[in-house]
């Protein structure tokens, strides 16, 4: 079985984000990047499926040169090879990004495409679904469990408020994977060494014959306006504890 994992590199969770001079995006200097967490779980699921059923895991990522690091990380964990579409992410909206990926995957003809349910940066939560539609594949989203039975998929989909549903769908298909559905593996030293010799094919939009045409645009990025008047309490731990209890008792009157 050929499994493609689409993964994105995003600013680390603890990053201090600064709006850049254009006011339309963040300043990326001094930022550390990591693999988008739900995508890391998609990779883990792909590696487990390969261990059970055999085949190949191909990593696909769109982004600038820095993305090579995330790709190497995935290869070190056990992916077989990678496709890196080297483009500036800010030039593309979700549809454009999915078009790039669809073009790159057309000759690959994967049996299964896995990706995280959303990215921790833009959080549109739809690249996977859009990619499935462009490739004419059936899809299922927010998947907690994947089983392969008689050449078809049986998956567990998360729904609202603690509800779940099983679904069956034929291959080839695309699934978006929920975070936390298994335990992520670490790369071994041997894996890191092997990764150095694995194939990373570089593609560009020009080579793929895809033109950037945005259908949505970010006009401005800014710090959120407070929904509530927040009183910040400062002092030593004992002082803030005493202040908080006083406020909860006499101002908010909830104790």
């Amino acid at each position: 079985m050929k499994i493609v994992v689409a993964l994105k590199q995003v600013p680390g969770r603890d990053s201090l984000l600064r709006v850049d001079a254009s006011l339309r995006w963040i300043s990326e200097t001094d930022l550390t990047f990591e693999t988008n967490e739900p995508d890391a779980y998609a990779l883990e699921e792909a590696l487990q499926l390969k261990e059970k059923h055999g085949g190949e895991v191909v990593v696909l990522s769109v982004g600038p040169a820095r993305v090579a690091q995330a790709i190497r990380g995935a290869l070190a964990k056990g992916a077989d090879r990678a496709i890196h579409i080297e483009e500036d992410l800010n030039d593309w909206d979700t549809l454009g990004m999915a078009q790039l990926m669809a073009r790159a995957l057309q000759p690959e003809k994967p049996d299964l495409i896995l990706t995280g349910l959303q990215s921790d940066d833009l959080g549109y939560g739809q690249t996977g679904v859009v990619l499935a539609e462009l490739l004419g594949l059936p899809h299922a989203t927010i998947i907690m469990q994947v089983e392969l039975r008689n050449g078809a998929l049986r998956v567990k989909r998360e729904q609202e408020s603690g509800w779940f549903q099983y679904l069956e769908l034929p291959l080839p298909a695309l699934l978006t994977i929920q975070s936390g559905i298994s335990k992520l593996r670490y790369a071994t030293l041997m894996g890191i060494k092997r990764a150095q010799t694995k194939e990373v094919r570089k593609l560009t939009a020009t080579g793929l014959d895809v033109i950037s045409a945005r259908s949505v645009e970010i006009r401005r990025v800014y710090l959120p306006r407070h929904e509530r008047e927040t009183e910040m309490l400062a002092g030593s731990p004992n002082e803030v504890a005493a202040q908080l209890i006083e406020r909860l008792k006499f101002t908010a009157r909830v104790l």
Binding site: K109, G123, Y124, L134, P138, I142, Y222, T230, R247
Partner: protein, 352 residues
């Protein structure tokens, strides 16, 4: 795969050689709210989406329409027709029960090509997350998902949505001709501001065939018995990633005990198995609105906030002063939870 692509393109009447060619342009007059129902009952967020549509309709001077989808929706359509809007479409077909993305997208694609709306609004539910991006892609558009508000500046519509798990907000603008697509976050618009009225009801019967539906949905179920009903709790102490290790949970448990509170958590804690899933607050867990909610070591991703921001008083303790949780907090403490929480527990014990 390419033959499927071609078939798909031909079915839509496009040039099969032009893989990414745009669909025929629609003119677009009206804001269409897609209402979600399950088993003949409207999902609560449907009314919030309709309230958003009414507000946008007034500000952009556009008529408001609504659509409800299912196998038999005349009662639901009549219910929606009691609101202030121009038309309600009952989109009916036996293949629309149960929900599948293939049938929903085909049905709504048919409706949109026939009625040509300017803007299509959805409630940002799990189901919408599953099919709305696919529908938007049929029209070569991007769904602006999880919208928390809007502004109209110089006649231009700006939609506000969160980036980076809520650390920043962005104004997003459509750069395409209609139809455009957006989904509305839970609680962003108020259903109690819906205006009453009376609308025409139209029935739309889409062209669907069993062969179009590739996924087979099986039964829905709940994993745990839900021994804990957090929605009934008066005080909730909730813990997140900041606790770092299962071994440290006692710090939070001690505080919960001192407050007589229920213990809850954000998703990563339950994913790690440190607390049972039934104690998870957020879009995939429970929605709570206690009189006091203490968020400890929780950064405040959107998925958590939608589950707790209705709480009467919110306290946030976090070492990151920029954590989005402070946006919804009444009282904030920037500091190490391992210093602050034991001090708080101690202070409460002294006071009692």
């Amino acid at each position: 795969m390419s033959s499927e692509l071609t078939a798909e393109a031909q079915r839509r009447g496009e040039n099969p050689n032009a893989f990414f060619s745009a669909s025929p342009r629609l003119r677009g007059e009206s804001i269409l709210a897609i209402l979600e129902q399950r088993g003949g009952v409207y999902q609560r967020m449907s009314w919030e989406t309709l309230a958003a549509a009414q507000q946008l309709g007034r500000e952009l001077d556009q008529p408001v329409w609504a659509a409800v989808i299912g196998d038999a929706v005349s009662t639901l359509a009549a219910e929606a027709a009691g609101k202030q809007l121009e038309r309600v479409y009952g989109v009916e077909h036996r293949l629309l029960k149960p929900y599948t993305p293939d049938a929903y997208v085909a049905a709504l694609e048919g409706l949109l090509r026939s009625v040509e709306p300017f803007l299509v609004l959805f409630p940002h539910t799990y189901r919408v997350r599953d099919y709305a991006p696919k529908l938007a892609t049929r029209f070569r558009r991007v769904l602006v998902s999880d919208v928390i508000g809007h502004r109209v500046e110089g006649g231009e519509l700006l939609l506000v949505r969160q980036l980076f798990q809520g650390k920043l907000d962005a104004d997003v603008q459509f750069a395409s001709q209609p139809p455009n697509f957006a989904s509305i976050q839970a609680g962003a618009y108020r259903a109690d501001q819906l205006r009453e009225g009376s609308a025409e009801v139209h029935t739309f019967v889409p062209e669907l065939a069993p062969g179009m539906i590739r996924t087979r949905p099986l039964e829905s179920f709940r994993d745990s018995g839900r021994a804990v009903d957090l929605s009934a709790a008066q005080i909730i102490v909730s813990v997140g990633r900041g606790i770092k290790d299962r071994e440290n949970l006692h710090v939070i448990e001690d505080l919960a005990k001192a407050l007589g509170a229920e213990l809850a958590a954000s998703r990563p804690i339950c994913d790690n198995g440190w607390l049972p899933m039934e104690r998870q607050v957020g879009s995939s867990g429970q929605t709570v609105a206690p009189k006091l909610y203490l968020a400890i070591g929780i950064s405040g991703a959107i998925q958590h906030l939608v589950g707790m921001k209705g709480s009467k008083t919110i306290v946030a303790i976090n070492k990151d002063p920029d954590a989005p949780i402070f946006e919804v907090a009444d009282y904030g403490i920037v500091g190490d939870l391992f210093d602050v929480v034991p001090a708080l527990t101690e202070e409460l014990r002294k006071a009692s």
